[in-house]
């Protein structure tokens, strides 16, 4: 029953990591939602509780069509990615310090803790996407996306962006308190400039060029292209988006690793 010493192969390393992440995931569910079975329902319900009232409210205020496209699918495909971004980012603020106790176990790395949290948020968000789609589809408010592969691609990029942003925010928040301070205003401003409210096609050319530099706006273009198909003109560029996100992810991973140095464990 002895603990093995160092010198693990990559294969064993991966097996250990999978086990650690699994254990963290279960622990996260217990600590966040309690041990009652209702806790698991909350993972899906939490994003839904945010999304459904807001979507109904907006579509009631704004009428059914805008710029010639249906408002409900436009808002639906805009708001759920916002929740993904906000919840992932919000969850990782100072998360190393908050989970420093876990670092007592040398097998647990900060990346494991991050992955555990991210998986839970992403899983909850995807479940909410499906549940809210089913709900709105049942009442006839939205249709099946016209170009499903494009929709999936867009959502994949949106998930990737949310992960990269969370890595950066999480890593920076360990160094400096004001990252936490600007996170709130930033995540509200994000509503305006992200592409939630607009299509690149509606913007004047110069502004459109600037907007399309943003990877999340690119992802929104692809998501909207997926939802509405040929009915609208979109500008998504998967190659550019993947490149920018890869750079941001590497930067985030580096910050995260550096952040470890700043952690003081009680």
């Amino acid at each position: 029953m002895r603990e093995a010493t160092g010198g693990v192969t990559l294969f064993r390393g991966l097996a250990v990591q999978r086990r650690v992440i699994g254990a963290l995931l279960i622990r996260e569910i217990y600590t966040r939602f309690g041990r009652q079975s209702l806790g698991f329902v909350w993972i899906v319900a939490e994003p839904l509780v945010f999304a459904v009232p807001v979507l109904f409210m907006w579509s009631a205020i704004r009428g059914s069509h805008e710029h010639g496209i249906a408002v409900m699918p436009f808002l639906w495909s805009g708001y759920l990615p916002i929740l993904l971004f906000r919840h992932l980012g919000g969850r990782v603020l100072m998360f190393i310090t908050a989970n420093a106790g876990l670092l007592y176990h040398r097998r647990v790395t900060i990346l494991d803790i991050f992955v555990g949290r991210a998986l839970l948020e992403i899983g909850g968000n995807y479940a909410a996407v499906i549940a809210s789609f089913a709900l709105f589809y049942a009442i006839g408010a939205i249709d099946v996306p016209r170009d499903l592969p494009m929709f999936y691609l867009g959502y994949f990029f949106m998930t990737w962006w949310s992960i990269a942003a969370a890595l950066i925010v999480g890593g920076l928040s360990e160094r400096s308190d004001w990252v936490g301070q600007i996170w709130m205003p930033y995540s509200y401003m994000y509503l305006v400039f992200s592409g939630f409210f607009y299509l690149a096609d509606w913007l004047p050319p110069t502004l459109r060029y600037v907007a399309l530099c943003q990877p999340y706006t690119q992802a929104y273009e692809m998501i909207r292209g997926g939802v509405f198909g040929g009915a609208i003109k979109t500008y998504g560029d998967p190659g550019y988006t993947a490149f920018v996100l890869a750079v941001l992810t590497l930067f985030g991973l580096w910050l995260m690793r550096e952040g470890r140095k700043y952690v003081v464990v009680e």
Binding site: E3, T5, G101, H105, R106, R107, R260, V265
Partner: protein
């Protein structure tokens, strides 16, 4: 074997850098029990956290050729809002040990009874110490990092810890941070004396204790 060489650790607070450990070296062989002596704030717990890999050193090297427990102290390593059982489940998953075995061992050694299904934050210091120590013995490491925990338990717990570490696991190593010389004498053969972040290893334990008492 654990080889610590030229270890330094600095913390930044209020814009100032504060050096807690300065060029500390130490070698621990298999089966050796080494004491770390030092007054409050000498850097004992920091050294334990660095050896355990909880924090990373500012400079210096730590080579670990043995599996090392997490630092067994009066706090840390557990989630207070989770029950003893849930904490054990988490540890069992991480180290890939059967939960039933871990539970049975901890139940027997720590004698916490029904408290195992209570949140850890309701435990007393002594209970926490017993829980942490029993759990690490159940996982079975090559080297135990013990930070005052043994001193926190009662007589019976101290006797059983002694049995476990010396009779049943004589080949295991231990680094024991303490400032109680009786406990150090009962457990260790060598000592590292820490003073203001600097450290010196003594092969003569009594000499180390005498010097520590003079500090």
């Amino acid at each position: 074997m654990i080889r610590v060489s030229g270890l330094c650790k600095e913390y930044r607070a209020e814009g100032k850098t504060h050096r807690v450990l300065s060029n500390v070296s130490l070698t621990v062989n298999r089966g050796e029990k080494v004491a770390v002596l030092g007054r409050n704030g000498a850097g004992k717990s920091t050294l334990m956290r660095l050896i355990g890999g909880v924090e990373v050193p500012t400079s210096g090297r730590i080579e670990r050729e043995m599996s090392i427990s997490w630092p067994l102290g009066l706090q840390g390593g557990f989630q207070g809002s989770l029950t003893g059982n849930d904490n054990m489940r988490f540890i069992a998953r991480i180290y890939n040990k059967p939960f039933d075995y871990i539970r049975a061992y901890v139940d027997d050694f720590a004698e916490l009874g029904r408290y195992l299904s209570e949140p850890l934050k309701t435990y007393s210091m002594g209970m926490r110490a017993r829980f942490a120590f029993a759990l690490s013995l159940a996982i079975d490491f090559d080297c135990y990092l013990v930070d005052e925990v043994i001193a926190a338990g009662d007589q019976r717990f101290q006797r059983r810890s002694h049995e476990e570490l010396f009779e049943r696991r004589a080949d295991r190593s231990m680094i024991l941070a303490s400032h109680i010389s009786d406990i150090v004498k009962a457990y260790c053969s060598r000592a590292l004396v820490l003073h203001r972040g600097r450290g010196k290893v003594f092969d003569d334990l009594q000499l180390a204790i005498d010097i520590y008492n003079e500090l």
